[in-house]
């Protein structure tokens, strides 16, 4: 990669203090170039949301231990505190939540909620901020935006609320947008509109996006690269096409097989037999081994290696290692 990355994450671990402790993220590393879209796929509980929240430092401070390094636009995110952290949130990186009905304050108008962020980060006047809010509502194509400025979240439909949420997240032109299942709470037809909107805004603003989803179709639609997450690790990363054409990790294969062959778009990723492990201890062997058809003795005793296969393509599995040696 020639351009220097906007996001650089190394050996990220996130542990929630118990009892029992939960090792939600167990060594995640990746880079993201400016303007690049990374889709994170994985079944429920694999640590997708925790990874995103960590990038914005939204986890409960006291109960959370973060290890490794996160650098976003040159800032050491793990070390950010107080005002510097608040300056970073919403301006450098911001977030679109899964359910906009819950993520917006019910007793403030949409216009107020957007203006507030603009005033906070840019110190402009109220009138100026309101103008920006209006601009943003136009930008996300909310019908009659001037009227919607003074609407409360409950007065809008789900799709419109999510548009408003996106307008809010992008109001201060962040370099990085974190989207945690931004369409899961919406109707199927609206989902596609929101995905297209996100893709369009991402291109217009040239921002990087990390997009978490259960929906492989959606991930393919908007992403340049994919990361498949399992038990707090990225088990396979690579370009969308490479992974679709040639998945290497048994878990990725299971996912794709379960979802691409005859499965409806939008179904959840749960078709692989077995359940993900409890995360009460940091893994010391392949977390997928209990569910893996190819598991060998050593898979149960040691962590599988991270095998690099070409540019920005990594697989955590002994099979990939063997394949590389064959080649």
């Amino acid at each position: 990669m020639s351009v220097s990355p906007i996001v650089s994450v190394r050996d990220l671990t996130v542990t929630f203090k118990g009892p029992p402790d939960v090792h939600a993220v167990n060594g995640v590393s990746f880079d993201l170039a400016p303007g690049e879209v990374l889709g994170i796929l994985g079944e429920s509980g694999s640590g997708k949301s925790v990874t995103l929240k960590t990038l914005l430092r939204l986890l409960p401070e006291k109960r959370t231990t973060i290890g490794g390094t996160i650098s976003v636009a040159g800032q050491d995110v793990v070390a950010l505190q107080g005002r510097a952290l608040a300056d970073y949130r919403g301006r450098v990186a911001s977030m679109v939540f899964q359910d906009p009905a819950l993520a917006l304050d019910p007793v403030f108008t949409v216009g107020q909620q957007i203006s507030e962020a603009v005033i906070r980060h840019e110190g402009v006047s109220k009138a100026e901020a309101r103008k920006r809010a209006l601009e943003m509502l136009e930008r996300v194509r909310i019908p009659s935006p001037a009227r919607r400025l003074d609407a409360y979240p409950h007065e809008m439909s789900g799709g419109m609320r999510q548009r408003a949420m996106i307008a809010l997240a992008l109001a201060c032109r962040p370099k990085l947008l974190l989207a945690d299942e931004p369409t899961t709470a919406l109707d199927a037809t609206v989902q596609i509109q929101i995905l297209l909107l996100l893709r369009e805004l991402q291109r217009d603003f040239g921002m990087s996006v990390i997009f978490v989803t259960h929906d492989i179709g959606a991930a393919v639609e908007v992403s340049d690269r994919l990361a498949v997450m399992y038990a707090g690790k990225f088990v396979e990363t690579g370009g969308v096409r490479d992974i679709l054409r040639d998945p290497r990790h048994p878990y990725t294969r299971g996912l794709l097989a379960a979802n691409l062959h005859g499965a409806e778009k939008g179904t959840r990723l749960e078709a692989i037999p077995g359940a993900p492990p409890a995360l009460h201890e940091a893994p010391t062997s392949c977390s997928f081994a209990p569910r893996c058809r190819h598991a060998e003795e050593r898979c149960h005793h040691a962590l599988p290696p991270v095998v690099p296969l070409g540019e920005a393509r990594n697989v955590r599995c002994i099979l990939a290692e063997a394949a590389r040696q064959d080649a």
Binding site: F97, L102, V107
Partner: protein, 317 residues
């Protein structure tokens, strides 16, 4: 909004009518003849008859009620048997005094309760939270007449800083906005504020904790708001409920202060009601109960309207 307002006001009318029937009946359900307390024990049967006719007690209940109700609508609640003055004028004066006491007590209770509640909700399970919770439990459970007497013993009897009884110098019951009168209200108001303080503190603590656990608070932090900015949102989310609780507490204080007003001889409605009961002063009793009940009806109406004006979610339902 206007439609909601009109609808809500119209709803109130049948409630008010029902309440006035109950008020009228309650007094008649009580045993004994209201006249026995004013007539000499050896009054002749003929005199009793005469008095009964004079006060209209010989008419059927519905007629008595309609007559009473019709006059009440015009602001005439009859004449106090004990004092011979009009019930309305007695009530107006007492209501003014109770209002003053209740207003001070609510103010103290709301400010302190709000403060404790917010701090406790923000720092839940911390030392401060436990301390604030302890205070509010004490506030709700301490018998307030006892607290009143303790305050009187300390600040009036021992230290001599504040007067123990009455609403003004020389036992006057006419209020004025000067220190000579204000210092009479200090002790009863503090005594009275203890209960609303405890209730407001507990409500706000639970409210704040609940608001802080909602997802949108994460959303506020995610857009970079500082603590003060988040606080603003918490306050606005808490305000409708907090105001409703304050309004209701104010209402309770307007009605239920017989004990405190008696301890401090504060010439308010509670004191008046107490006297009316002990003296079996029927018109005064009916009038006082009616007015207090109407207070609650109107109070609920106001609380509702204010709440819906503040909270955008309530209006359209």
């Amino acid at each position: 909004m206007l439609f909601y307002l009109v609808k809500r006001v119209l709803y109130t009318l049948p409630v008010a009518f029902g309440v006035s029937i109950v008020c009228f009946m309650l007094v008649h359900i009580a045993p004994g003849d209201p006249l026995t307390s004013v007539l000499p024990p050896d009054a002749s049967a003929q005199l009793q008859q005469e008095m009964r006719r004079l006060y209209g007690f010989d008419r059927p209940y519905y007629e008595q009620f309609l007559r009473w109700f019709g006059r009440a609508l015009q602001g005439d609640l009859g004449t106090s048997i004990a004092t011979g003055r009009s019930v309305t004028s007695e009530l107006v004066k007492a209501m003014g005094n109770t209002l003053i006491l209740a207003a001070f007590a609510t103010m103290i209770g709301f400010v302190l309760g709000g403060l404790f509640g917010f701090v406790a909700g923000y720092f839940r399970n911390s030392f401060i939270d436990r301390f604030a919770s302890l205070l509010s439990v004490i506030g709700v459970s301490v018998p307030h007449y006892w607290l009143g007497m303790v305050l009187v013993i300390i600040f009036s009897a021992q230290l001599g800083w504040l007067p123990a009884t009455g609403a003004g110098p020389g036992g006057s019951s006419d209020w004025a906005w000067d220190w000579a009168h204000l210092k009479h209200v200090v002790l009863p108001a503090i005594t009275m504020s203890v209960i609303p303080m405890g209730i407001v503190a507990r409500t706000i603590r639970a409210l704040v904790a609940d608001i802080l656990s909602q997802e949108f608070v994460g959303g506020l932090r995610a857009k970079g708001l500082l603590d003060l900015g988040v606080f603003k949102h918490v306050v606005k989310n808490a305000a409708p409920t907090a105001l409703a609780v304050m309004g209701l507490q104010f209402g309770y204080l307007l009605g239920g202060s017989i004990l405190i007003e008696t301890v401090f001889s504060w010439p308010g409605t509670g004191f008046l009601l107490g006297n009316a009961i002990f003296q079996r002063d029927l018109p005064l009793l009916q009038g006082t109960i009616l007015v207090l009940a109407m207070f609650f009806v109107v109070l609920n109406l106001i609380v509702d309207l204010v709440q819906s004006a503040i909270d955008p979610r309530i209006q359209r339902s």
